[in-house]
Amino acid sequence: MIAIAPLEAAQSRSLLGRTNPLVKLGLAALWLVGFVVTPRVGPPLALAAAALVAALLLGRVPPVSVLRGLAPLWTAAIGIAFFTALFSAANTDPAARVVLALGALRVTDGAVADGILLGARVVAIAAVSVAFARSTSPTALVDALVQQARLSDRFAYGALAAYQAVPRLSLDLAALREARRLRGLRGDWHPRLLVALLVLAVRHAERLGLAMDARGFGRGPRSHFRPRAWGPLDLVVGLGGVALLGAVLAWA
């Protein structure tokens, strides 16, 4: 069953857990820009390490959880590194040293460097993603977006309510796949499954929307059960993150 892994108390009470999600998101976006602009392998890897350290130490994320979060990364990183090396512009340079020749394709050392760079970038993106996802709950993010970024509460809480549909929809999808087998249909994947799932999604949305209206949703200004305020921690983490980015980029 598919579900958003919940944050344990240890994680939500940790330093990283208590840092404002908007600050974390902003830092992640900024670091992403950093990963993309630097031509060197060092910065992404250093920042990836920093992100993982932050997750483990500041976020109290269990190592197993971090490893699981990184698991899908390796095939992607290797794949992208491989294709970058294969298709790199550096391969067209006739003067470059050829490292590998696959039939008509040549892979130069410049291309290999490019491949490694992209691989490092993917690792960095994944590390930052894990650090963010394992230290932030969707509720905290939505609260911050509504209370501090002043986004529409109807849309934000509507999205949060829709998230609660994930387990049910994944069970629905499993049930539909079973139904295919029971009807003698070969294979349990088919585009028609998407249609069926979307119909169930619309049903779910209509019922849930009615339930939310019955609870006064959208009636007027809301108060907040989980009030949020900016704090010194946010400033420290924010500035620290920016400073680290600057330092790593400058050092490289």
Binding site: A3, L160, A161, E178, R186, R215, P221, H224
Partner: protein, 484 residues
Amino acid sequence: MGGTARGGPPAIVARDFGFRYARAAEAALEGVDLELEPGGCLLVLGPSGSGKSTFALAVAGLLGGDVPGLVAGSLRVDEADAGVVFQDPDRQVVMERVADDVAFGLESRAWSLPAMRARVPEALSDAGLAGYEAHLTATLSGGQRQRLALAGALAPRPGLLVLDEPTANLDPAGARAFVERLAAVRAARAATIVLVEHRVDLVWRLADRLLVLGRDGRPIASGPPGAVVARHGARLVTEGVWLPAAVERQLGVAVDHSAQPSAVGAGPPVVAASGLAFAYERGRPVLLDVDLHVAAGERVALVGQNGSGKSTLARLLVGLLRPTAGRVDLLGDAPHRLAPADLAARAGLVFQDPERQFLATRVADEIALGLTSADRARAAPTLEALGLPLASFGARSPYQLSGGEQRRLSLACILVREPRLLVLDEPTFGQDRLAVDGLLALLRDRAAAGTAILAATHDERFVAAFASRVLELHAGRLVAERAP
């Protein structure tokens, strides 16, 4: 029937009230006249399609706006604020954590933080979920989720509580727990209650007044329960309305005990399990060492609490799951190894929720899905036999059929192949009497024709009328085998 109403002007007054949904050919509700005193409890009964939900939505003030349509007559509800509990436990949860979910309605009404912090634990306690504040809503059982919905509805201290079939998707234990909480609310006369329910045995004692709607959306009867039963009792039964067992006995409604042990049951089993065990995860077995068999023509009921493994067993018998240990034999083969086409020819499983089994957007396509040319000839007659003739239903969408029609369609889609084994998972949930009678007749015919039938069910009345043999599961083991 404890407690007295609060006195004062009526909380709800309906005068010739009716409602027609936008784009509907006919009115869902017509000519409703009633008065309900403050703090009173109105129980709304009626067969499927009688407009009960429409009435509940109207009282809750949810018609119009998101639910467009035309109103007739007048409905005056004194309370501006209504708490509502709907029937699907999965489709009312809004937040990740229990306390946040309860507080959601309070936030919408701009309550102050200290007031919310004080009120949330109280509301949870009233709903029987004391101490659950930090729990993840996703880990709650269906029964707990319904009580969470009740807590959320009660939190703002509404003067009116509307419940639309709140126990429809709950097992008996969950239903009882929910009704207990509701009874406490009613005893305190904290709110006027409008309750739509099928499970009359549980809620009859709560009702101060009944409103019985007929299939056409017009009231058949309304008034205090005793009076309604005295004047209209027989008619209610023929209209398909469930009444408490005691009342039905009084009215002389014959309980159907025609499920005799079938003579055909002596033949070789259609499906047999030996030493069957299953675990979804290592170390957490759901089924242990189950031995059973169902022979052609037998009608077997599988009973047991939620969590006893009934659904899992049903799935194993039709090859949707692979046994962790032991074997299942379906006419000579292990069902999980069969190719889909072979499997469908031998066995079928009909789930509780028909909408999760539809794979097409037209009835004609739905019935034809996966059929071999030999089976195709049976499509039209099967639909006909289930009251869904191809001529009128073929072009319609399965999703737009009524609940009863959807169930019959999902049954038809399985029966069209004339499988030797038919397994049903909770076939009577939320069904009115006429639908259940129809199902019983159908199953009896199929069994007589040689189909082996197994029904996993909580419904005691159904078991009494349907089964020639009852298997009881408890914590994954078959603990009893008996006559009904």
